[in-house]
Amino acid sequence: MNNNSDGNKKVLRNLLFVVVGMFGFGFALVPLYDVFCDLTGLNGKTGEQYVSDAPMQIDTSREIKVEFLANLNDGMPWEFKPLTYSVKVHPGEATRVEYVARNKTNRDIVGQAIPSVTPGQAAAHFQKTECFCFTEQVLKAGEEKIMPVIFIVDPSIDEDVHEISLSYTFFIKPGSEDAKVKTDNMAMKARPSVALSTPLTQH
């Protein structure tokens, strides 16, 4: 059996390499998935801040309806809603809309908004030149803030797309708040449907 034990060691070593490699591959799936989603717009994630070299050609022959949604993640005690529910835009034209958020607790809270665009294939063509989602937002206790988004729908967007929904979900930045929020029942009941004091403006 001695002649075998060298062979066994070799097989063992090679297969252990495969095991370690596949363990690594499991983690490599994380960036691979992100790259895949970036390329396909699969999970509705939009790109980073858009900087244009030259202004886009405005395509006045088409009109796309863009709707705005606001969500709060579990345990986020803010109020949050768009001041405009929908606009009609021509592809290529820069449009400004505003969201409003209010921290109705007596603590300072850091939040991060995550955008998501539906339908997925529109995500890659939805460019934002300015957005409150690019940075963390700090709201002091009781503070209210108007937050702008400036976006351009790329004229190269598929002809079939007539409506786009832009949704933001505000998350508490992990670690910026202690566990008090979870037990704060008043805060937990906060939902975006609660009317804010700010009046709605129609774009």
Binding site: N4, N8, L15, M22, F23, F27, D74, I114, F171, P174
Partner: protein, 533 residues
């Protein structure tokens, strides 16, 4: 084929260690195989008990016996125990016992690692079951997120015991990987002279390929639970959108493991059936090489179909089409196998001993499960079937009447070689008929309630599903208690007081190295390798 045991080469022939040390420190492939099989059998009764709790609750609509929270723990642990604690260890046990005997090797290539890979399992399942025991004693909840443990159910919303579960999955993963490495090393290095790859019995081939699947995907599962662990305890956000992660990513990582896993749970059964059908047809297997290539194709395809579990997560149409077509493609090599088995029986001189009965039932009932799988692969249909009892019916046909029936067939087929005694044929046939009738009473109605829209994993249901659920529950209890016949038969065979002695060849049509050994197979076998012509 010469298979003389030349005893003068081994002075300690059949000298066994005694007492508990024989089992604790065992490096003997037969003893370790036996331990794997008993472990699996015990877990089978544990997982089966949980299934009966589920079926008792679902006997009629409304909540009767358990609260929804406990019901969730029952479905979760039933799935985990049956997949990782019953089917997989039983296959590894069969491989331990039979692969060295079938290729003429004296033992497994890495006997100490073999011992370690078995003894990790009681620890792993001890932890998992401990969480259930604590839950029943009112201390927290056992894992309750389903056997697929999707994030965020298992991360943000997972009970404290999830960390037990994660450690348990790590241990069973290490155990499986070591078992797989051992089997590959044994097959590559320890084949008897003349045993070329294309002469290996199909069971050895299917396990060879299964072992590669295990090595490829168990580390991915380990990665998934490690990400869960760090998400839960160390502030990472792999699966949490709040930190820039994505819960859908979890499903991709899980099913990248999970789909090859379902073939890990069926390929060895294909191998078992490919041993049994020729034996009782008294013919060589039809299309040996096509069997090997079909098994390899299934293994390859299993890596590129995982997202068919996720059609409803919102994928682009192109991706859905790719995964749909790739999934349908698997029906081709599987069909090759089924037709080969049928062709093997064609014009054979068949007899219907218990292993053959289970093998034929396997071919018939597994094919039903395969067809419902094909239905599920169709994207628009899957939107309707997703997360209903139709899916439950599908995977119980392939896992119970597929994988488990393969294991039953293997036990009846080889137990005379293991113990030296024939099992009680009457009891075997009784076990077969009661099981086969009740398993269909149990699972067939689930197709109907599933198509009508009954969701899985819910303890209560609409009145319209009441009759079929009552029928399924009756089938479940009959099937569950029928397994006591198997337990009794196995114990009776091992004791051997009221059974016939088995001959060396056992079955008239048996072929292969394992049948050249005496029955029971001696503690040390093939110390001098046989020569295969």
């Amino acid at each position: 084929m010469s298979a003389v045991i030349e005893e003068h080469h081994d002075e300690h022939h059949d000298h066994k260690p005694t007492g508990i040390g024989r089992w604790l420190f065992s490096t003997n492939h037969k003893d370790i195989g036996t331990m794997y099989l008993w472990f699996s059998f015990i877990m089978f009764f544990v997982g089966g008990t949980l299934a009966l709790v589920i079926r008792a609750e679902l006997f009629e609509p409304g909540l009767q016996f358990i609260e929804p929270e406990l019901f969730n723990q029952m479905t979760t642990l039933h799935g985990l125990i049956m997949v990782f604690g019953v089917i997989m260890p039983a296959f590894v046990g069969l491989a331990n016992w039979m692969v060295p005997l079938m290729i003429g090797a004296p033992d497994m290539a890495l006997p100490r690692m073999n011992n370690w890979s078995f003894w990790l399992l009681p620890g792993a399942f001890g932890l998992l079951i401990a969480s259930l025991v604590m839950s029943l004693m009112g201390m927290g909840s056992a894992p309750n997120f389903g056997w697929t443990f999707y994030a965020p159910l298992s991360t943000t919303y997972g009970p404290d015991s999830t960390d037990y579960f994660i450690f348990s999955v790590h241990m069973m993963g290490i155990s499986s990987i070591m078992g797989a490495i051992n089997i590959i090393a044994t097959i590559i290095n320890m084949r008897a002279p003349g045993m070329t790859y294309m002469k290996m019995p199909i069971f050895v081939w299917t396990w060879f390929i299964t072992a590669y699947l295990l090595i490829a995907v168990m580390p991915v599962l380990a990665g998934a639970v490690t990400m869960m662990l760090t998400d839960r305890n160390f502030g990472t956000s792999f699966f949490s959108a709040a930190g820039g992660g994505d819960p859908v990513l979890f499903q991709h990582v899980f099913w990248f493991f999970g789909h090859p896993e379902v073939y890990i749970m069926i390929l060895p059964s294909f191998g078992i059936i490919s041993q049994i059908v020729p034996t009782f047809s008294r013919k060589k297997i039809f299309g040996y090489s096509s069997m090997v290539y079909a098994t390899s194709s299934i293994a390859f395809l299993s890596f590129i179909v995982w997202a068919h579990h996720m059609f409803t997560t919102g994928m682009p149409v192109a991706t859905e089409l790719f995964f749909m077509y790739a999934t349908m493609l698997i029906a081709v090599p599987t069909g090759v196998k089924v037709f080969n088995w049928v062709s093997t029986m064609w014009k054979g001189s068949l007899t219907f001993e218990t292993p053959m009965l289970f093998a034929i039932a396997f071919i018939f009932l597994f094919t039903i499960g395969g067809f419902t799988g094909l239905m599920l692969s169709i994207v628009p249909a899957d939107f309707q079937y997703h997360d209903t009892y139709f899916v439950v019916a599908h995977f119980h046909y392939v896992l119970v009447t597929g994988a488990l029936y393969g294991i039953f067939a293997a036990v009846y087929f080889w137990i005379p070689k293991w113990t030296g005694n024939m099992y009680d044929e009457k009891l075997g046939k009784l076990h077969f008929w009661v099981s086969t009738i009740s398993v269909n009473v149990l699972f067939f109605p689930m197709h109907f309630v599933g198509l009508a829209g009954m969701p899985r994993r819910i303890p209560d249901y609409n009145m319209q599903f009441a009759e079929f659920n009552a029928i399924a529950s009756v089938g479940a209890f009959v099937f569950g208690f029928a397994q006591l016949i198997l337990l009794y038969n196995i114990i009776k065979t091992i004791r051997g007081r009221r059974t016939e002695k088995a001959t060396d060849k056992v079955w008239e049509g048996a072929e292969g190295l394992e049948w050249t050994l005496p029955s029971p197979a001696p503690f040390h076998s093939f110390t001098t390798p046989p020569t295969v012509k």
